[in-house]
């Protein structure tokens, strides 16, 4: 995996979020994808769904397990990467860009302070990631 984006913030449960104005783009990291293994399905939320911080946003299923994706921010789902339900390749190969999972409209001025930056996330992964 090439270097992780510095403009994202990361959670202990291996989600990433990138703020673009009042839109938060959410996905899972390369660590999560690698540990899930061969992906078979992605279950994404409906547009308009309101999600609280830390609530379940989506599910990513692999041959060996189903991983819950917890939303790093509170917001309302505006768009999802719905093609992933049929073809998980963008998520497997490019989890930080074309493999994004959902976009949420968030409160103006939202801060991502409680989340790790890319260096802190690397330390978390080096320590085992759990």
């Amino acid at each position: 995996m090439a270097t992780r984006p510095a403009d994202c913030r990361y959670t202990k449960t291996h989600e990433w979020v990138r703020l673009e104005g009042t839109t938060a783009v959410v996905g899972i990291t390369d660590f999560a994808v690698e540990h899930l293994g061969e992906l078979v399905f992605v279950d994404l939320p409906a547009k308009g769904k309101k999600i609280g911080k830390g609530e379940s946003l989506a599910e990513v299923e692999s041959v060996k397990a189903v991983g819950e994706v917890y939303s790093p921010v509170a917001g309302e789902v505006t768009e999802t990467n719905s093609g992933l339900a049929n073809d998980q390749t963008p998520l497997a190969k490019d989890p930080f860009k074309t493999g994004w999972l959902a976009k949420l409209k968030v409160a103006a001025g939202l801060k991502l302070d409680g989340l790790m930056d890319v260096a802190a996330y690397q330390k978390h992964v080096d320590a085992g990631g759990s």
Binding site: V40, F41, D43, E59, V63, V66, A85
Partner: protein, 127 residues
């Protein structure tokens, strides 16, 4: 292959799990045989069936099997079959639902997905 904890458990008898080949029901002196003879005479209420899942999601152990809007059984084991290119499962269902081609549904994490009864074994290597 039956797996203890999946296809075989304390409350599943070997007739239900399709393990008749390993039993000699004439040996009535063996512990358990009289109970099995009685169960066979009474008729089984459920049996292990093999299914193909018509969904990209994989049925997992414990997932409930539905028919006609009711829960009728549960998945014993489920997996992605690389050989068949489909997701497969074994599960206990009422005898009436074990005929080949029977269509039922499986509840995978809150949504229902189609299952179809297929022959057992799933695959026989041509010799």
């Amino acid at each position: 292959m039956p797996l203890y904890g999946n296809e075989i458990e304390l409350d599943i008898n070997p007739l239900e799990a399709g393990l008749d080949f390993g039993l000699d029901l004439s040996k009535t002196g063996t512990i358990g045989i009289p109970a099995l003879v009685a169960a066979k005479a009474k008729g089984l209420s459920r049996k292990l069936a093999s299914f193909v899942a018509h969904t990209p999601r994989i049925p997992r152990q414990g997932c409930e099997i539905h028919s006609d809007g009711k829960v009728v059984g549960k998945v014993a084991s489920g997996a992605a079959s690389a050989t068949l290119g489909k997701n497969i499962a074994t599960g206990f269902v009422p005898l009436a639902l074990t005929a080949l081609g029977t269509k039922v549904e499986v509840d995978i994490r809150g949504s229902l997905h189609p299952l179809e009864v297929v022959p057992h074994p799933f695959y026989k290597r041509a010799r």
